[in-house]
Amino acid sequence: MKIFKAFISVAITVALIWAMQTKFGDIPPVGAFLNPATGFWQNAESKNIEPSGSLKLKGLQGKVTIQYDENRIPHIFAENDHDLYYAQGYITAQERLWQMDIQTRSAAGRLSEVVGAKALELDRYHRRMGMVYGAENTLRGMMKDPVMKVVINAYAEGVNAYIHQLSPRHYPIEFKLLNYAPEEWKPINSAFLLKLMSETLSGGSNELAMTNVLNKFGAKVTSDLFPDYPTREDPIIPAGTKWDFKPLPIPQPPASFKAQMVAGMQTKDRVEGIGSNNWAISGSKTATGFPILANDPHLDLTYPSIWYQVQLSAPGVNVYGVSLPGAPCIVIGYNQKISWGVTNVDADILDWYQIKFKDGSKNEYWYNNKWNKVTKRIEVIKVLGQQPIVDTVLYTVHGPVVYDNAGIASEDRKNVPVGNALRWVAHDESDEFKTFYLLNRGKNYADYREALRYFSAPAQNFVFASADNDIAITPNGKLPLKYKDQGKFIMDGSDPANDWHGFIPYEQNPTVKNPPRGFVSSANQSSTDQTYPYYINWQFAPYERGKRINDRLGAMQKATIDSMRVLQTDSYSIRAQDLLPAMLNNLDASKLDDTQLAALKELKSWNKDYSPNSIGASIFATWSNRFYRLTWNDSFNDKKTLLNIPTMDRTEELLIKDPNSIWFDDKRTPVKETAADVLSRSFNSTIDELTRTHGKLGTGWAWGKVRPFEVRHLAKLAGFGSGNFESSGTSSTINALSEGHGPSWRMVVQMGPQTKGYGILPGGQSGNPGSFFYDDMLQTWKDGKLKELLFLNSATEKSPRIKTTLTLSK
């Protein structure tokens, strides 16, 4: 009996301990996670900060001094390049290891290894679209460059030096939640980050949806509703700028393309602009007489912040700005001589090619009048708790066939055409970090131009300002040389005439230096006017933000840091300015009830500013959105076929010039509707909707309440985000906060004999939810303010803002 009792008790104890160490479903192992010795409690960082520390790291060649300021921003001083990037890797990993791991894992199609089969579809997609293939090619390109080889390898060594001395109790909390351990960091991971950026910024496509439109409505309607240039535009390179180069011969479309377009005038899912802004104004328009540069790149706002602030200094370089956790150098920033920033170009660097296979075995495909062998690439996807999945991807001359049969196509990716090969600049060998390496050390305009040559994808609008009073902007990257509209639709993959015809020479990418108007700017709109000889894309982000920036900068004199700050947080709506008068003109007020009349009055008196307390903004946002959808839904909402919907720009033009257009007629009703009918219906449903969800017309309808905003944790973990807050702006205003996107970094730099930078992150430097530096900058960001950035000239410079000094040595 005694033995039995003892046995039962021991068995229960062992089972209990086992259960506490085991993950069930999505619940972390409770004992491992909750125990205070090694569990999450260990991640609670103390408010008390050590004023100094020192570490021995074998991989270093010399001594490195790191000064941390009050926001835990590291200022790294090294004696050579190797140690500089080694320290950058080490310090970044210390704050952001899990973010680095999960992002590169996602890009590499390896999420299933740690979260199980639920990530299988995403992993498979990333493998099949060639993310690994592209990263391998980029790594090869970087390793061929002796300078970048040192940089990339030193960074990886630094990250690994941190990982190797990390004990399980100090693993970032997300590793504990997901119950896995950090692994060795590889140089290819930095390339994976580039691929992730390329996917975010140029990985969308609407070619299938456009091809479907062409097949359904014919070429005439397609050209009419999807013109190659918007009605309203204010291009990045000022209209009328002369092109001082002799262009290459422009490729001719093959006969089949023309036939497709001419026959009775009878082929991408792309998100309309996430929205980034940058500009530089010349010294002639500033109070100090020296240029000012501003940049706010918009991306998904998350904790940890997408960017990591750092100052990097070694012989030949002293630069401040933001870096991508997992990659060396500063991406957006300034030194004492130059400053630069980026926004996305929206160039069409991704195309689909219809592939004709010889037979069901899919070993051969038709191209250039003969059968060609496919190359097979085996992708092995490890899955937690399951056997690994082995996937064979077919590669053609164009690139990988993403989905070769409908069976594997994903319901979530309706825009990926089945049986088509993907041609994407991000697949090519490249050396993008070299651009940043050179910009970090740049001294003048010539250095800027030289640095841009190395940038491949995703193409960016590089804005520039220097202390010697130059400003410039260049939509830049490896841009395919195409015939007009090449890649607007899916192409025939058997005809070499549809191949890309090389690339636009770098020096002929659109660029402008010191334009007469005294400023340069970009907000993802069209790169140029219609005189630029090359085809970049038929569709860019809408022009409204660019227009507002240009209007304001044009009027600005004696500009200061503060004028730039105010402009970055501007939420005046050019869209409302363009569209609202026409909407109101076409609305018959005589049929409205009291609530509707009161709402109309509110709307008429609205100052067109998406401020948090604006009721007009909520009414206009809802109404214009409903009007847009109601106009197109009957013809373009097809459950079986994915169709691209005409832009807001085209819809505006129809309303203003052709309110009786057939497109306003709802084909599902016997009567013929006009724009007035669509506006009236959508207005009524807007007021009903707002009343139903936000109560009676009043403060409940304020924009900040109708459209709450949250900075969420990267893994969308409840409790790890910012919580909802009220904010201004929408996707078509400069402060483009919308659906989780927004200004992921705001920076303003005043050039001069003493260049000064100002900036703010919507979060903090630390990736640890248990750190005081996880979200310490959010409030300043929400308030629309900037912090003066601490730029140290030497490791020994004193500043009351320095809180900790860390010394690294061999």
């Binding site: 506490m20 010795a37 260990q42 960082e45 408010k47 409840a718």
Partner: protein, 111 residues
């Protein structure tokens, strides 16, 4: 006698060893010093519970409980004190069972 010993072992090992190592220590402590099953269980229970509370609070106070609050919300608990209670309860159960096992195994060898 057993209670302060387990409390001491669970607390000190929290700085040096994985948490389950303290279970073996509690088992051993009860094996050598435990007398009856009830008090042994409760010594392990309270020793572990209190040690875990102390270890957790030593981390959480200088942190002003910001992490504990976030994790509490993650598990849909209204505040960090409840999370601490859950933590203590889980530790206490493991400690109690380990000590109980220790004393019951000891009985097997007793005449």
């Amino acid at each position: 006698m057993l209670f302060p010993l387990i409390l001491f072992l669970a607390f000190v090992s929290g700085y040096l060893l994985p948490w389950w190592a303290a279970c073996i220590l509690a088992f051993a402590a009860a094996f050598f010093f435990g007398k009856t099953s009830g008090p042994s269980f409760w010594s392990g229970f309270a020793g572990f519970g209190l040690a875990w509370i102390a270890l957790a609070l030593l981390k959480s106070f200088p942190n002003e409980h910001i992490l504990a609050t976030r994790v509490a919300h993650l598990f849909h608990l209204p505040n960090w004190l409840l999370l601490l209670a859950v933590t203590a309860l889980i530790g206490a159960l493991a400690g109690g069972m380990s000590a109980l096992s220790g004393v019951l195994v000891k009985r097997v060898f007793e005449k």
